[in-house]
Amino acid sequence: MKALVSLVFVLLLVAIAWIGSEAGGEVVFGVVLPYAAFLVFLVGFTWKIVKWARAPVPFRIPTTSGQQKSLPWIRQARFDNPATGLQVVGRMALEVLLFRSLFQNTKAEMRTEKGRGPRLVFGGDKSLWIVSLIFHWTFLVILIRHLRFFLDPVPGWLLTLGNLDAFFQVSVPALYITDVLVVLALGILLLRRFTNSQVRAISLVSDYFPLLLLLGVVISGIVVRYFAKTDVVGVKELGANLLTLRLSVPAGIGAQAYVHLFLVCTLLAYFPFSKLMHAGGVFLSPTRNLANNNRMVRHINPWNRPVAYHRFEDWEKEFAKEIEDAGYELERD
């Protein structure tokens, strides 16, 4: 049901862009909405980060998944229990670039074998890690490839990237490997929510909708490139117009291209307010980005009220006369 609602949402977006751009709304879908969406994305993203950054972090709370720095002959797990800033950088780089914590994903499952009762089996599960990794990296490559619509002249490295992506030279225009991989990866991530009953139970509209929206973006992009082609020069002219604040839309960009653009705009505007913000949030995860130096550095709670201490030295000073009269020695002497 939740998946169905999300699907209806995405199809509705497609219909809006299709009908709207056909009915003469090219300026709305080609200029107004892209600017608005991009502005919402930039401001929303920054605002979210600032909001999170304002939360106080007086104490170090990293997940310590390995041996902490201890005596010299005990080997420290540097990336699982970093003690210095540099080790944190290593941990974060592995996390952001290779999804290391997802690599350590585990899974519990009931298995029934012949001659034995049902057993609870517990083991590693790399499938989610590999599919997520494929999705994120292919999506990045696709994003960078799209720079050719905004950069003039197109730099050589961008052409090289495209040529590498089209390495197998199948079909005209050449099939991009990332186009195939991203659809497969998103499909598997969606199927996972249907087939895994535990994941299915906790899946919400806000889980299905981004997945289906991304699938919509990717599929509409594939349609525009391989099947219902659009005027690429017109698209690039629109890109240049957007960059230079020329508020005009070149003719000849079909409705299919506006559908793709509108879905991307929706994604951009939706980004800061959704689970997709993990892109920025991962950098602000206190369980990942803090060094476990709780026993090496003194951390003082900034909102501690000042405590009226009465130290031994003060007490001794206060009763110095009485202590001496009683014949005891004073510590300070």
Binding site: L42, F45, T46, I49, V50, A53, R54, P56, V57, L147, R148, F149, F150, L151, D152, P153, V154, L158, L159, G162, N163, Q169, S171, V172, P173, K229, T230, D231, V232, V233, K236, E237, G239, A240, L243, T244, G252, G280, F283, L284
Partner: protein, 127 residues
């Protein structure tokens, strides 16, 4: 705000990266207008109508390649012309640099036509 310097640097880096096309455009003197192509002919029409040629000439070339190489058919039924990149297309659009390359460069397309096809010698493309 804890780690203020690092977080502000991160936000700044994010904004710089996301707005990269703007900086690039500014450094290169702004993204230009679509190039004026040297069509090279006054003929009324191409082998298909202009809109089709503009958007899906690559499909047509692909189809021609298959018809010639696989089916042995050399003449295009629609236009009556020979299905040949170098002899039909370049016959009118003689200035490859000013027509094909200029537009491909602008759009960031890097087709591999000329990996195999030789450009006929001479400006007039003798047959």
């Amino acid at each position: 705000m804890y780690d203020k310097g690092k977080i502000l640097a991160g936000i700044a880096l994010f904004l710089v990266l996301v707005l990269f096309p703007v900086w690039y455009g500014a450094a290169q003197g702004g993204p230009g207008r679509p190039p004026d192509l040297v069509v090279g002919t006054d003929a009324e029409s191409c082998v298909r109508d202009t809109e089709t040629m503009r958007i899906s000439h690559m499909d047509l070339l692909d189809e021609w390649r298959n018809r010639v190489v696989r089916d042995g058919v050399r003449r295009d039924e629609v236009s009556g012309r020979e299905m040949s990149l170098t002899r039909t297309c370049l016959d009118c659009h003689a200035d490859r640099e000013g027509f094909c390359t200029k537009c491909h460069d602008y759009a960031g397309v890097d087709p591999d036509c000329w990996d195999c096809h030789n450009l006929p010698e001479g400006a007039g493309h003798e047959r």
